[in-house]
Symmetry: C2
Subunit: 140 residues, 2 copies
């Protein structure tokens, strides 16, 4: 297979800019910028997400299954950049971003135009990122 | 959960325009327009796809695991529209579209700017569309 042709083809598949968060106000927290998300079902509403297996958010997702997908808007590259490295919580801010808390406990970025609360339903353990199939359980 | 807020949030997740094909030149064929695709791994290259459970392409994907994802470009709404209904093969054309054949046997739309050959690795049987995790095995 021609590697360059493959890259060119796969780059034609649209991707987004998201910060996936997990944890609780009084416990551990994790957050990471991700790009690979698609809806896969209307009823129930399901999303498939690619999550890097060696990341802190991966461990949280496996352990608790409670996540928030913060959907970033145009001009939020700065927020996305902040979550390329491990999240730090200080002075009520997560890596410098003001947060509220979803019903499932996970942090919600106040600056995100939309966010959905997720419950992990299944994980496909293939590849350098595993595919999480998660149900949308709430909207923030 | 506020249905309208959920719809608004989920519509912020980008989606594409694809024709997913299966079958062989001398056997049955199936093709359907789909929108829900994301990459989920670099190594091996994996995609997650939402496929409607009551569709002909779903049966083919389950039975043979051999698919081609035709990635449509701008201005190809007409080709997408042609595959909203069951595919018909006549005069060497699939629902009016000229085709070639991938190494795995499935039809490739000549008009698609890019296409990848897929082998289904796992299926998550949840929801009105199931989530197929498929490996990119070739590029056309």
């Amino acid at each position: 297979m021609d590697e360059q042709a493959r890259k060119t083809a796969l780059r034609m598949i649209p991707y987004g800019l998201y910060v996936l968060t997990a944890g609780t106000k009084d416990g551990d927290k994790a957050a990471a910028t991700i790009n690979w998300v698609t809806q896969t079902s209307f009823a129930p509403p399901l999303l498939a997400l690619g999550i890097k297996t060696d990341s802190a958010i991966y461990s949280h997702a496996r352990e608790t299954g409670a996540l928030v997908l913060n959907i970033l808007g145009k001009g939020q590259q700065g927020a996305a950049f902040a979550f390329f490295k491990p999240a730090e919580y200080a002075d009520g801010k997560l890596s410098g971003e003001a947060v509220t808390w979803a019903a499932n406990g996970a942090p919600v970025l106040e600056s995100a135009p939309a966010a959905v609360e997720l419950k992990v339903r299944e994980v496909v353990e293939l590849g350098d990122h595993h595919t999480f199939v998660a149900e949308v359980t709430g909207c923030i």
